[in-house]
């Protein structure tokens, strides 16, 4: 079974829609910049991949995660030709940090908030008339986990169409905790480079409209072939190769494809020593020979947490559509485990892409892997 993806939408530091984001990735434009709204005297690290949308420089605003989420859903719904009112359509949102940034501003600065403001239900009802809305807090694979649940709704015939989204802004608590344990903050994110030093958080939102069938005559963005989810049950921050491999193999089995069928993998690629090594080793194990083209987007978008998986999936759909794979920016010399892999570096790779795999691994060993094919 495959399900058509009728529409896509996204916002990130490097672009206000999927095309702009894809163009920035191909052109090597980065969203990394000095901290915009946190007090710089309080942190060792001084850079983040933020979306530059605040009214006043240096002054933070509540509700930004919701703002980005609403924009991504608006784009995806419009792209899919859905009505403005989404009353009959479930909306599933994966997020790492919900509106916890607003919670921080409430506790510290007295910005108004009640407990319902932590999740997205009221905003989605207000903006889209959506009733059946869900906030899943699943760390960095949250949006692909939400996609898996959307798949299940379609599979059981409990919905005809589902909107799936992911969003996150950077919270001071998460950035602060990372700052506490990272004495020497990385100056950039360099996935799969032997000199990578770690990851830097980013902000973004992404959304897709998934359906049981495409309306006659409407073009589709691609077809979802499978989404596999599991958990390492191993360690909070150290990924387990066996768990990751299981998720990849499950996704391929459910999609009824072999490794040789995959033309492109959009890697999770956080730029941390451990994650990249594990992901490279598993990828080398799963794919024999030269294997598919491999890329990742976090050197230019930052680690966008809850939206990361869906953002990667949208980039994969753009690659399917354009026959172009953006390179991994900042990759000079691959880590040893990736020496034999076809990591795309330097320039975009022009090549037909028929089938793409998207990896997404979260804090706590929460893994999700999706496979998408072209519209045909």
């Amino acid at each position: 079974m495959t399900y058509p993806i009728l529409g896509i939408g996204a916002v990130a530091g490097i672009g206000a829609d999927p095309d702009a984001i894809f163009d920035s990735l191909c052109a090597g434009r980065s969203g990394l910049a000095p901290l915009r709204a946190f007090d710089r005297s309080r942190f060792n690290a001084q850079q983040l991949f933020e979306i530059d949308d605040r009214q006043t420089d240096g002054v933070d605003e509540p509700g930004r995660a919701t703002r980005f989420l609403v924009e991504a859903i608006r784009q995806a719904a419009e792209d899919a030709g859905l009505p403005e009112d989404l009353a009959g359509i479930p909306v599933l949102v994966g997020t790492g940090l919900r509106e916890l940034r607003t919670l921080e501003l409430w506790w510290r600065d007295g910005v108004p908030l009640d407990s319902d403001g932590l999740h997205f239900e009221n905003a989605l009802r207000r903006h889209f008339g959506a009733i059946d809305t869900h906030t899943f807090a699943g760390a960095c694979s949250a949006s692909l986990y939400a996609l898996a649940l959307a798949w299940d709704l379609l599979e059981l015939g409990e919905a005809e169409t589902v909107v799936v989204a992911g969003c996150d802004v950077v919270t001071e608590s998460m950035f602060g905790q990372a700052d506490r344990v990272q004495f020497d903050p990385p100056s950039s994110v360099r996935p799969f480079d032997k000199d990578r030093q770690g990851t830097i958080l980013g902000e973004g939102a992404a959304a897709v409209v998934l359906s049981r069938s495409a309306p006659a005559g409407r073009p589709v963005r691609g077809r979802l072939r499978s989404v596999a989810v599991n958990c390492d049950a191993h360690h909070q921050t150290a990924p387990d190769p066996d768990g990751v491999e299981d998720a990849v193999r499950q996704a391929q089995a459910q999609a009824e494809v072999t490794p040789a069928d995959i033309d492109l993998v959009v890697l999770h690629g956080t730029g941390t020593p451990l994650n990249d090594r594990t992901e490279a080793a598993v990828t080398a194990r799963v794919f024999d020979g030269p294997g598919p083209a491999l890329t990742g987007i976090k050197s230019l978008t930052g680690h966008t947490s809850g939206s990361a998986g869906l953002l990667s999936l949208i980039v994969a759909l753009c690659s399917l559509d354009r026959g172009l794979v953006p390179p991994i920016a900042g990759l000079a010399e691959p880590l040893p485990e990736a020496a034999e892999l076809r990591l795309v570096a330097g320039e975009p790779l022009a090549a037909p892409v028929r089938l793409a795999q998207i990896n997404s691994f979260g804090f706590g060993g929460v893994n999700a892997v999706a496979i998408v094919g072209g519209a045909a």
Binding site: D39, S41, R42, F43, A87, T95, G96, L97, R98, L100, L103, E104, W107, R108, L113, D114, S115, D116, L118, H119, E121, I131, D132, H134, T135, F136, A137, G138, A139, A142, Y145, A148, L149, W151, D152, L153, E155, L156, T171, E172, S173, G176, Q177, D179, R180, V181, V229, N230, C231, D232, A233, H234, Q236, T237, G243, D246, F363, G364, G365, V366
Partner: protein, 296 residues
């Protein structure tokens, strides 16, 4: 496919099993002490919600027979977990920004780092008990607990797992109290939902649904499974006047734990010999729990 509740656990002050939920909460009861059930090991740097979640997980998995003497009796990859908690880590988050503002990040505890992520309860539960199936955290407000049941049921029906531990838990602390403007229930409940409606069934799961309004949800529940006599609902309004209603408000705000505690209470109701359907209503989400099929 009939899904069964095969394991039930309750941890609230003064209420340690499903039947206790049928009675009024005892004021001034001692807080739940997770170390009494699962020992001190590994709990030191966990936040309160995670400690309570680990306690509930142990009790529910044991009750379902899938955990015996610390070992799983079913394949770990077929056992998943879904946690419902709206307020679980808000104290960690607020404490961190306070510390950063007063001093700097150097004053933060590195041990708090995992607790800054909202899925900490689910991931710690998986790590401690080796649950390698799907691992989901639902933070969806008032309906969160019943939503968690619904997503667990969906993943069981599509074959992503054979058993799913569903935990609803909230912590009581200064931040959560201020956020909900009142006392918060310090604990919750956990269930194991299973594909196989085996002899261990304590309840069967009927329809789980959501509409635009609680009254519409109540109407659909009674239409789809008529003849029930028990309503588990905080609100009086959508419940028929003659029906027996249990509000479960005595422990403070249950928030994300509510729906799971309601389902546990239904299991307690069946354990006391009742046979008709029980209806759970949280926000505009609803669920029907059915008495287990008893072999004569």
């Amino acid at each position: 496919m009939t899904l069964a509740v095969t394991g039930v656990a309750v941890a609230l002050p003064g209420a340690a099993d499903a039947r206790a939920l049928l009675h009024t909460a005892r004021p001034g009861a001692d807080p739940v002490d997770p170390t009494a059930l699962i020992g001190r090991k590994g709990l030191r740097f966990k936040d309160r919600a995670t400690q309570l979640g680990l306690h509930l997980a142990h009790a529910a998995l044991t009750d379902a027979g899938v955990l015996q003497d610390g070992e799983l009796t079913v394949p770990s990859g077929r056992l998943g977990t879904v946690v419902s908690s709206n307020l679980g880590n808000v104290d960690t988050v607020c404490r961190a920004v306070e510390t950063i503002a007063k001093e700097s990040t150097s004053a933060l505890s590195p041990m708090d780092t995992p607790n800054a992520s909202s899925n900490i309860i689910a991931s710690e539960t998986a790590i401690r008990y080796g649950l390698r199936g799907p691992n989901l955290t639902v933070c969806n407000g008032r309906s969160s607990g019943l939503d968690a049941i619904r997503w667990a049921a969906l993943m069981l029906r599509t074959g992503r797992a054979d058993h799913i531990l569903v935990t609803g838990v909230e912590p009581d602390n200064e931040v959560t109290r201020r956020l909900v403007d009142g006392p918060v229930a310090d604990g919750g409940a956990a269930l194991v939902l299973s594909r196989d409606a085996s002899t261990r069934a304590k309840a069967l799961l009927g329809p789980v649904l959501r509409t635009a309004r609680p009254a519409d949800t109540a109407e659909r529940l009674t239409r789809q499974a008529p003849g029930g006599e028990l309503w588990l609902s905080t609100e009086e309004h959508p419940v028929p006047g003659a029906a027996r209603r249990i509000a479960l408000t005595g422990w403070g705000e249950l928030s994300g734990a509510l729906g799971v505690v309601q389902c546990a209470a239904a299991a307690g109701w069946f354990a006391e010999g009742h046979n008709g359907p029980a209806y759970a209503l949280a926000g505009a989400a609803g669920a029907v729990l059915l008495a287990p099929e008893r072999t004569p």
